[in-house]
């Protein structure tokens, strides 16, 4: 279960008294959680392995300056979110430069023999992230954590260092934004 993964990770989170923080400890405790965040926030286009490496490289560089003012999970999520945002920016630029890449990827995927259900799921993910990609980044992260990762507003608030009420208000806007964009997209495709 998605929630279980997060909650079980949260139960193993080191407390602030655990400082100084060691890279290996953090990697072992949060590696898979970060991988999951990266996979969810990045969508089907992302290479989770590469992203985890990129995120933890940033972690290793920033770790000497981390004094535990925020929770480790919050700190890690901030880095993950920022890394994904940077990746999306690069990806947008790359696609703008070479639209062919997307075409080749699509063609390659379509050529692979895939079960129908898998194709439908893949298409659903494609559609979902296509709508998400149009949205502001903060709405996007919120929606992914709430709707896909089934995190509560409290948990999201802890990760993003926000009050639960603020999360709920933003979530309401994000959902409305998503539905509006989905209607537009479906109008375009039909």
């Amino acid at each position: 279960m998605v929630t279980t993964v997060f909650r079980s990770d949260a139960s193993r989170m080191p407390t602030e008294s655990d400082a100084p923080f060691e890279f290996d400890t953090i990697y072992r405790q949060y590696g898979r959680t970060v991988a999951r965040w990266a996979a969810r926030l990045g969508g089907p286009q992302i290479s989770v392995e590469d992203m985890v490496q990129e995120i933890f490289l940033v972690v290793s560089r920033r770790l000497p300056g981390f004094r535990g003012a925020a929770k480790v999970s919050t700190w890690l999520f901030t880095i993950t979110d920022q890394t994904i945002r940077n990746w999306r920016r690069r990806e947008r630029w790359r696609r703008m430069v070479s639209r062919l890449t997307r075409h080749i990827e699509d063609t390659t995927d379509a050529m692979q023999p895939t079960p129908v259900e898998q194709i439908e799921r893949h298409q659903a993910a494609e559609r979902f992230y296509r709508i998400l990609d149009e949205m502001p980044h903060r709405h996007r992260s919120l929606l992914v954590l709430f709707e896909i990762e089934a995190q509560s507003a409290e948990e999201i608030g802890q990760l993003m260092d926000l009050k639960a009420a603020t999360v709920r208000v933003r979530l309401h806007r994000a959902r409305a934004d998503f539905l509006k964009r989905m209607a537009v997209l479906e109008g375009e495709t039909t």
């Binding site: 009420a165 709920r168 479906e186």
Partner: protein, 350 residues
């Protein structure tokens, strides 16, 4: 009023009862979309360990080269911008000056011509002599494109101190007092040889046969009746052969009506003969190879021609003629590249 104290119902948990009338459709579709979302494929524990090992290797202080590179790029961009600006300013000022040069009257008397201060810089240094050259600027734009016409010099009156300087009148503007018209034949020949040189360099030095062929196509388009046409044809064939396009090379040689002429005719003939032989056109090949042979075989071309002709003749069942060629080959080229093969064939023919 929306309740901000509790979380909204997730789309995936929505039931038709909890939906309002207007929002139902969109929400249901969003719910369906979210429910269909696949679980992410996460790296295995082993992969995570590999990633950790990679990070350990990559860890350390952030490389400073990136910052240095950024600075270098910024400085380069700045310098480029400044240079570009200066060039643009220079060009604009020149154009501006050219547009504002006052035309001078034509056929001036023997006094030195007056120029506007702006035109002074454009027209080069002032002539040291008074009479020559007298430049009349009747039309201004564009100064560099208008060809100058040199009027026949008038006979100088006797007794004048500077009679050795004929007065020259230029009917239209030229930035130079005299312009040298290039000899058309010389220019064309130079251009031809330049294109050929480019093709040769690409083929022999850069090993870029495709580039050489492109250059030769350019040559053919620019000089359809060029003096170096035969040379161009030969280089093209060489390039095609180096690309392995033997059929195309043979096609080029087949269409060459002047193959038997010129200093490299033997080489071309033996090449065509070999190519024809390789495509079972043995009768035509025998003819080409025969023409390429010297009266007394002595060089590499003769060696190739003899061996290829023997091969063709044997395919045409003319074994006696083939044997004679091979014997001749053995006699003249006992250490030739095909000497051993020739010996074998001769043995089998006996």
């Amino acid at each position: 009023m929306r309740d901000v104290g509790s979380d909204p119902t997730r789309w995936r948990d929505l039931s038709s009862d909890s939906l309002g009338q207007g929002e139902a459709d969109l929400d249901v579709r969003a719910a369906a979309l979210v429910r269909q979302m696949p679980e992410p494929v996460l790296p295995s524990a082993a992969t995570m360990e590999v990633v950790r090992a990679r990070i350990t290797l990559l860890r350390g202080p952030r490389p400073r080269i990136r910052r240095g590179l950024t600075w270098a790029l910024a400085v380069f961009a700045l310098m480029f911008g400044v240079t570009l600006g200066a060039a643009a300013q220079s060009w604009i000022s020149k154009r501006w000056a050219a547009l504002h040069v006052q035309p001078l009257p034509t056929n001036l008397p023997s006094s030195p011509p007056r120029r506007s201060p702006r035109a002074h810089n454009l027209s080069g240094p002032e002539p040291t002599t008074v009479e020559a050259p007298a430049v009349a600027e009747s039309a201004i734009s564009p100064p560099l494109d208008v060809p100058s016409t040199i009027v026949q010099p008038r006979p100088a009156p006797a007794g004048r101190a500077h009679a050795q300087h004929p007065r020259v009148e230029v009917a239209s503007v030229s930035p130079m007092p005299f312009s040298v018209q290039p000899m058309p034949h010389f220019t064309e020949a130079a251009s031809e040889s330049h294109v050929i040189a480019v093709a040769l360099r690409k083929l022999r030095q850069d090993h870029d046969a495709r580039g050489a062929i492109d250059a030769l196509e350019q040559y053919r388009a620019s000089f359809p009746n060029g003096r170096l046409g035969a040379e161009a044809g030969l280089i093209r064939v060489e390039a095609l052969l180096s690309l392995g396009e033997r059929a195309e090379a043979l096609h080029a040689l087949d269409g060459d009506s002047a193959i038997g002429q010129g200093p490299r005719s033997r080489e071309l003939l033996v090449l065509r003969g070999e190519l024809r032989a390789s495509t079972n056109r043995c009768s035509e090949a025998v003819s080409d190879l025969g023409k390429s042979l010297s009266a007394s075989p002595h060089d590499a071309i003769d060696a190739r021609a003899l061996f290829a002709r023997a091969s063709c003749l044997s395919r045409l069942h003319q074994y006696e003629a083939a044997r004679r060629d091979l014997e001749q080959y053995q006699a003249h080229f006992p250490n030739g590249a095909n000497a051993a093969v020739a010996a074998d064939i001769l043995q089998s023919l006996q």
